[in-house]
Every structure is written in C-alpha cells, then in structure tokens.
C-alpha cells in the first residue's frame, strides 16, 4: 500500500530528482543521478525525493529497484493521461510540485526526455539550468556543478543564482548505488482543478529496430578518433570489436564527421564508459572525451603524439600510427 498525500501536504524544500519512467520502464540513469544527489542532500540536510510520473502503480515494472534506491522518498503522480510522455503536461506536473514544495534543487538525467522537460520548466519559471554536469559538490552551503568547457581542457564550475538550482546530469557519469533503507512511497494527489490536458497526442509508438548499443556497460571498449584519418579506417574497429567482444566508441569530431552514429560518442555529451579495458586508436584525449572514459580500469592509447593527454592518462601507450597498428593487429588476430 502506498500512502496518499495531497500536493500541498508534501514535505518542502527537498532535493528532487526526476525518475524517468517510459512505458513502465525506469531509465537506469534516474538511479545513477541519485548517487551524487544523496551526498548533496545529506550535506545540506535535505531529503532526496525521486519523482515518478506514470499511468498507474501496476504499470511500473521496476518497483524493486525503486525500493532499493537511495531516495528518502519516492513520489508518484498517477494519471491515465501520463501514460505517454507529453512534454507540456509532464513539465506542468513538475511545475506544480515545484511551486507547492519549494525545492532547493531539481535534477534530471540528461536523456532526451530529461532534456525535453527540464528546459521547459526552466523557461516557464525563469530558472537557471546547467547542462550535462558530471560532478556536484557543496561549497558554503551552495550547490556547485562542474562540466568540461568547450574547446580546451578546462573544467568550469557553475552555480545558479535562482532557487531551485536545476541541472541535467550526464548519463553514465555516476554508478547507481543501493540502500538498505527502503524509501517511503507516496502517491501525490493533485488538486481537482489541475488540467491533465496536453496539446500533444501520441498516436503510435514504434520500438527502435536497431539494437541499443551496450557501450555504457561494455567490459571492453575500442574507440577511435581523428587519428584514424577516415571513415573506412574507423569501420575496421567493428571487426576488432567482434574479435575482442567489445563495443565501439568514438570521439565527438568523428561522430560529427559522420564516421559513426552519434550514440557511440563517449564523453560529456555522449556516453560515459567504465570498461575493464579501454583502447583508444588515434584519440588525443580532449577533456570532452576523457570525462567519459577516465574511470576505465586499464587504458591503452595508440597515438603518434607522445604528449597527447590520452597518452599521459593511459596505463599503456603505443606510439605510432593508429591505422597501421590497427591493420597489423587485425591481421595477426584473424590468423
């Protein structure tokens, strides 16, 4: 049984996290973001609340993982109109909760859905919103967020002048943790006059045909950058990946060059990986990329430049032409 509670009776001034539920499935990144948020909440002496919007309790497949989550409370908002994800309605539900509970912080995983509603809320309420942060800390009772800046190997620390502090958090930047203490589940009852209407109507859904990439959980990652020179060379990484039972990753520039689809991008605005072995071919190691792979257990870099940041980070570096070494390696392994 879940306790039912009126919107206006909810606990105030918490840290809220968006629990993304799509067709009954909880997106794993919603549990990931609770890891840094729990620390933040404890330091600020606030409760951490996961807010889930869904059709009904029965429609949620992952109640077990919610029960083990780090949240102090899980607030559910159930309504048949919340069955499909509708940007405007989901944002309005959140805005009601924000208005009624004055949270200190509101955080979203940087999924497409998170990036759909967080800015809508920020726009409606005129709030600051930081994008794709990958570290959070407390300084002088204030939430400080960090993310690499564009174009240089420098990390920027950001704050937001408006309360609640809002940010989207990079996917895979944190590992989900479990707690012994079961969160309190509450079903939030919205006022009678709240309108559940939306300007959007989802007519149909077609599940994606391509297999989702298992990059973020891969044990071995072979990644390529500009040093591979062209798309043809880059494609050879797929042969290597098959032999090594690995997943292929890429840097931002090569994704934009169209050598490989963007969902294979490793880094701040892409996927974060933590494999046992990461192999980078022709990757110099811009912070944008390394922020997404620096926690790999064993890093191998193949690069012509001995001074490249990735070479400095690597446990083993082979100084040489990435394409030549890849070709030779494939030849030997295929034998």
């Amino acid at each position: 049984m879940i306790e039912k509670i009126k919107l206006e009776d909810l606990k105030k001034e918490n840290i809220l996290a968006f629990g993304e539920i799509y067709q009954g499935k909880l997106h794993p990144s919603s549990l990931e973001i609770l890891t840094p948020l729990k620390e933040i909440a404890e330091k600020l002496d606030k409760s951490l609340i996961l807010v889930c919007l869904a059709d009904s309790l029965e429609s949620i497949h992952d109640l077990e993982s919610l029960k083990k989550s780090l949240a102090d409370e899980v607030w559910f908002i159930f309504h048949s109109k919340l069955r499909d994800f509708k940007d405007d309605l989901y944002a309005r539900v959140f805005i009601e909760i924000i208005k009624s509970t004055n949270p200190y912080g509101v955080f979203f995983p940087a999924t497409l859905i998170g990036v759909s509603i967080a800015p809508r809320i920020a726009g409606v309420l005129n709030l600051g919103l930081c994008a794709h942060v990958n570290a959070l800390e407390i300084e002088n009772n204030q939430i400080i967020m960090a993310r690499p800046t564009y174009g240089e190997n420098i990390i920027a620390k950001l704050t937001s002048k408006t309360i609640p502090v809002m940010a989207t958090i990079s996917i895979g930047a944190f590992s989900p943790k479990t707690s012994e203490k079961t969160p309190v589940f509450k079903e939030v009852i919205f006022p009678e006059n709240f309108s559940w209407e939306s300007a959007l109507k989802v007519r149909s859904f077609r599940s994606s045909k391509k297999k989702p990439s298992r990059l973020s959980t891969a044990k071995v990652v072979v990644a390529g950058g500009r040093g591979l020179k062209n798309k043809e060379n880059f494609q050879k990484l797929f042969e290597l990946a098959e032999i090594l039972k690995a997943e292929v990753g890429a840097t931002r520039p090569v994704c934009y060059e169209g050598w490989v689809e963007e969902e294979r991008m490793i880094g701040v605005s892409g996927v974060t990986v933590k494999p046992k072995v990461y192999i980078g071919f022709g990757i110099s190691g811009a912070l944008q990329h390394t922020a997404g792979m620096e926690n790999s257990e064993f890093i191998i870099a193949i690069n012509t430049d001995k001074e490249a940041p990735l070479v400095k980070m690597a446990h083993l570096s082979l100084i040489g032409d990435a394409k030549k070494i890849l070709d030779l390696l494939l030849k030997k392994l295929k034998r």
């Binding site: 967080a118 800015p119 005129n126 420098i154 002048k161 001995k306 446990h315």
Partner: protein, 264 residues
C-alpha cells in the same frame, strides 16, 4: 500562408577556437564562424514544408554582425527573410537569456505556424534552447523530430527518442528541434539565390525592437554563472612503448592476453 521560423546559430569552426587564458572565455572575434551543422536539417525541413504547403520562412539568429554571412547562407538555401538579433546587451547570455531573446523575437513575428531549431549546437551542446524558448512562449515543444507533415489542421510529427519513434499529433502551432539524422540529403545553395543575396541585408533587431526587459538580457539575465575554472593536470602514469609497428603489435597482443581479452 504558413509562416515558418527557423532559429540558427553561428558556432566556431572546429579547430579555430581560441580561449583567453586569463578569463577562459572563448575569443569570439578571432574565431571563424560556421553555421551550426545541426541547424542544417532544421533549414531543410523548413524548405521542404515550404515546397509542400507554401510557406514563408524567416530565419533568425542572435549574435554580432559576423553572423550575417550565415544568414545569407540560409537565404541561398531557400529561405525568405533574414533577421539578426544584435545588441551589446545580449552578450554573455546563458541558455535562459538566449531563449528569452529568441522568444521575444518569435513573439514579434507572430502569427506563425512552426518554429524549428537544430537539436543542439556543436559548441554549447546543451540542447536546452528549443524547449526553454517554448517554455517562455507557452508553446508546445518536441525535441529531436525526424518528420513533420500536415493532416487537415493538425501537425503530425515523428519524434525519435532512446526507446523508438513516436507519432505525435499537435493541434496548435509548435516549436520543434530537428534530429541531426532527419535527412539523408541536404540541398546545396542555389546559384541564383547566391547571386540574389549579395544585394540583400538582414533586418537588424536590437533589444528595444523586441521590447526586451534589460534585466533579462545577456550576462545580467543569466542565472547560471561560471564561478571557477580549473585545469586537469595529467601526470604520466603508464608505460610508453615506441618502435616498429610490428613490435608494438606483438606487445599489444601480449597485454590483451594478460587481460584475458583474447585467449590463445
């Protein structure tokens, strides 16, 4: 006739970015600007809608006058009107302050039926401006759409997300960001229009033209602030091997065996 608005952004050409070592801000003046590659599909979608339904396309962009060539590029592709949102007061804007200026300009252009943007810029990469602008305007928004068409009075969009594709019906006007993968083919500029645009200049709107409240603009109107920057110092920690590729690959294979990635 339908009116379509497309918002575009000038981004530094990859490789030409210079950073002020003191302030850690981008030196925008010395950068070579290009049209954000992710805005190309938004322009393509607008032009295809124009061809199909007959529409007038207005392109707007916020920035200094070095954006004008990019507006002209959009004109050469087939848009009708160019507007540059330019004012010193706009400088230093975060996504909220940027969205505010765009929202004011879009409002001034109403009535319109569709506002399109790219999914995200390749410099900031926040993907926030489309939904944030829609939030300010109180307009329905969809991000990452692949298709857009009309059915009677309704817009039908195909939106792609992490799970698959949704077909979504929208009854009113709409703001959408377009998937970078929406089209296999992006039209080249037309020669005729390239010549034509030489004689044309964009309209320039300042803060007062869009009746913007000064405290919501630029750095002052930006709630998010950079409080500190730091460099990540890297120390050499591993083994570096140099030599003939042949030798390197042999060592490579040994390590892969040690790590039990390959068995032989």
């Amino acid at each position: 006739m339908e009116k379509i608005i497309v918002c575009i952004k000038g981004v530094p050409k990859p490789g030409t970015v210079k950073v002020d070592p003191e302030t850690h801000t981008l030196k925008r003046e010395s950068m070579e600007l290009i049209l954000n590659p992710n805005d190309r599909p938004a322009l393509e979608m607008a032009i295809r809608l124009k061809e199909k339904y007959g529409a007038e396309i207005t392109v707007i962009s916020m920035g200094p006058s070095n954006i004008i060539p990019l507006l002209k590029q959009a004109y050469a592709l087939g848009i009708d009107q160019m507007i540059l949102l330019s004012d010193r007061a706009f400088a230093g804007a975060d996504t909220l302050a940027t969205s505010y200026v765009l929202a004011r300009a879009i409002e001034k252009l109403s009535p319109f039926s569709i506002v399109l943007m790219g999914l995200k810029s390749i410099d900031g990469e926040t993907a926030q401006v489309p939904s944030e602008t829609a939030g300010l305007l109180g307009l329905p928004s969809l991000i990452n759409i692949k298709e857009l068409k009309k059915e009677d009075d309704k817009w039908i969009a195909i939106r792609e997300n992490e799970y698959g594709e949704e077909e979504i019906e929208v009854e009113s006007s709409l703001l959408a960001s377009v998937s970078p993968q929406a089209f296999d083919y992006l039209r080249p500029p037309s020669l005729k229009r390239l010549i034509e645009v030489k004689e044309k200049e964009p309209l320039i709107w300042t803060a007062s033209d869009i009746q913007a409240e000064p405290e919501k603009l630029g750095l002052k109107g930006s709630p998010t602030q950079v409080v500190d920057v730091f460099e990540k110092k890297l120390e050499m920690k591993g083994t570096i091997l140099e030599g003939e590729p042949q030798e390197l690959v042999e060592k490579f294979i040994e390590v892969l065996k040690e790590k039990e990635i390959i068995k032989i």
